[in-house]
């Protein structure tokens, strides 16, 4: 099937005008835009057969690669955004677009020195621009390279709507969240099955007078204990994080591993919570065991891995909806803890990416209007969605 040139001159003029409208704020006149003169000779290709993130390069920008179904269930039991999961169910396959922020991150991870302290990367951008999907792309890369992935799908869920809040047994002023902790441990177990028997504990952990986990026992035992004994699951999470932090520093020869800490919505760690104590006073994030342990994970005092974080305004509490920059969302305290970090901006779709997305939807029989092949509905979609990935 020969793909005709989908962006004729009239449409390109519309795109340029839309760009002006969007970029210059409200109430400005449309100016005459100089039109691009030449025909675009190359045919558009929207799929690539290179399914391994390590082999992808700039040549594959804007193209979709398929996530194998086995990887979808093991690596991402809880990681993908809800809309994307719906899409995977409808199209019967999971396809991710190769975009510039994810490729940049992967190249940094390839080039980093892992004997030095962990580098922190922060993905930021406007709402719906593709931060979580870029994070998932990077996690796929880390998994295929054999790293251990600690993925917290949405840190905002840990600071709001907590059904059960128990006072911590380990530290009297802190609070435990058993349900969230046990859910996370279950998903952690699905993701990292092969590491559970290889990593041995360096320390003895006592949970109650009669129960304890001995030194030298495999990590799997600790995780199973956390899943079954829901009351102490938050402390188990803390223990797991500590062990992984200490053991990630070892070199590759002596059966070491690299640790990737991936946190979505990292700005919730330093914000406010909506959880209240029994006397209706608000709980600060430091008083929650899970948040306290996560903060220790983000500090760059350990080696042998990387921390990849995403800012998110959508689930965050008490932050204005127009805020998207790191300084605004992290706050003073957060910025000081994350500093120094490598910021990676994530932008909306470019024209090439939009075209690729449009072709993908045509291929998957998602665009059903009889005029889909011609450019009139395309103009409509373009203008209404303002090239935002979430609305595509």
């Amino acid at each position: 099937m020969t793909l005709h040139r989908l962006f004729p001159l009239r449409l390109r003029q519309t795109i340029a005008q839309v760009r002006l409208l969007h970029g210059s704020g409200c109430g400005h006149q449309l100016e005459e835009v100089a039109m691009e003169p030449e025909l675009r000779k190359e045919t558009s290709v929207f799929r690539t057969q290179v399914n391994d993130p390590a082999c992808q390069s700039e040549r594959h920008l804007g193209q979709y690669y398929t996530l194998p179904t086995s990887h979808l269930h093991t690596i991402f039991p809880h990681g993908l955004p809800a809309r994307y999961q719906q899409q995977v169910k409808t199209f019967n396959e999971g396809c991710v677009m190769v975009r510039q922020p994810a490729l940049e991150l992967i190249s940094y991870l390839k080039a980093a020195d892992y004997s030095k302290p962990a580098v922190r990367y922060l993905l930021y951008g406007l709402k719906g621009s593709g931060k979580t999907m870029s994070l998932c792309h990077t996690i796929h890369y880390c998994s295929t390279q054999g790293w251990l992935v600690l993925h917290i799908p949405d840190a905002h869920l840990w600071v709001k709507n907590c059904k059960e809040l128990l006072p911590s047994s380990y530290h009297t002023s802190r609070f435990d969240q058993p349900i969230e902790a046990s859910n996370w441990l279950r998903n952690f177990r699905t993701t990292n099955e092969r590491f559970l028997s290889k990593i041995k504990l360096r320390q003895r952990y006592t949970w109650t007078k009669r129960e304890s986990t001995e030194k030298g026992s495999p990590l799997g035992e600790l995780v199973d204990m956390g899943v079954s004994r829901v009351k102490s699951s938050s402390d188990v999470v803390g223990a797991v994080l500590k062990e992984l932090r200490l053991q990630a520093a070892e070199t590759e020869e002596s059966e070491g591993f690299r640790l990737a800490v991936a946190i979505d919505g990292v700005n919730s760690l330093w914000g406010r919570t909506t959880i209240k104590k029994e006397d209706k006073s608000p709980v600060a994030p430091e008083e929650l065991t899970l948040i306290h342990n996560l903060r220790k994970m983000i500090d760059n005092n350990w080696c042998g891995g990387a921390v990849i974080a995403t800012l998110s305004q959508t689930g965050s509490l008490y932050s204005p909806s127009s805020a998207y920059l790191p300084k605004e969302l992290l706050g003073e305290e957060g910025f000081d803890s994350m500093d120094p970090f490598i910021p990676v901006p994530v932008s909306n779709y470019s024209e090439k990416e939009f075209e690729s997305c449009y072709l993908y939807y045509l291929d998957r029989h998602w665009l059903q209007h009889p005029h889909s092949e011609s450019h009139s509905p395309q103009t409509c979609i373009l203008v209404w969605s303002f090239l935002i990935p979430y609305f595509n």
Binding site: T90, N92, H365, W366, Q368, H369, P370, H371, P377, C380
Partner: protein
Amino acid sequence: VSASSIGRLVMLFLVRWSRYNPYYLEPEPRKELYNMPETELTTEQKEERELKAVRPIKATTNSTTSSVFNDPVLSKFVNMMMRDGEKILARGILTQTLESLKRKQVEKYHKAPQGKKAEIECNPYAIFHQALENCMPVIGLASIQKGGKFYQVPVPLTDNRRRFLAMKWMITECRDNKNRRTLMYEKLSQELLAAYSKEGNVIKRKHELHKMAESNRAYAHYRWW
């Protein structure tokens, strides 16, 4: 109706529902009809064009557009679903219904074997129109008084009345017979898919009306129009 909305209504001049003089013409929102060259027009269309040059035209409603996505049947359906003037909510429900219809059909399409793929209809607009057509009754009943008693007489229905009955039955069925936890768009999409394959409660209601009309065939001569 709140005080602020009363104030807003007073500022707008509502022309649409006022009694227009009969020589006002109906507006035509579709773009293709204006782009047709002179040669392709029939004599009636040529006369219409000449009339439009002299006569005034009624104002359109706010919900009509000249885009490809404008559909008069869908607009009517939205208006019938609307309650307390909340058009945005009704239109949102309809959009969600169409999306969920498309999702279910596309999922079935991708899971079907190669031979069966061509039979599955994925276009939600086509499914909606076909489902409505399947629900439209062919004959209706009118209550006619003769000799002191009222008889249910079988009577032909106009197209508008048939369309109205189909939409009304669809909406009442989805409002009344659903579980408390199911949302309107889910129930609507289930009913539309059932009507598309000629099953479901709305089709049953249409068949019951047909049966009543058939059983009252003897009174058909009471109709005088």
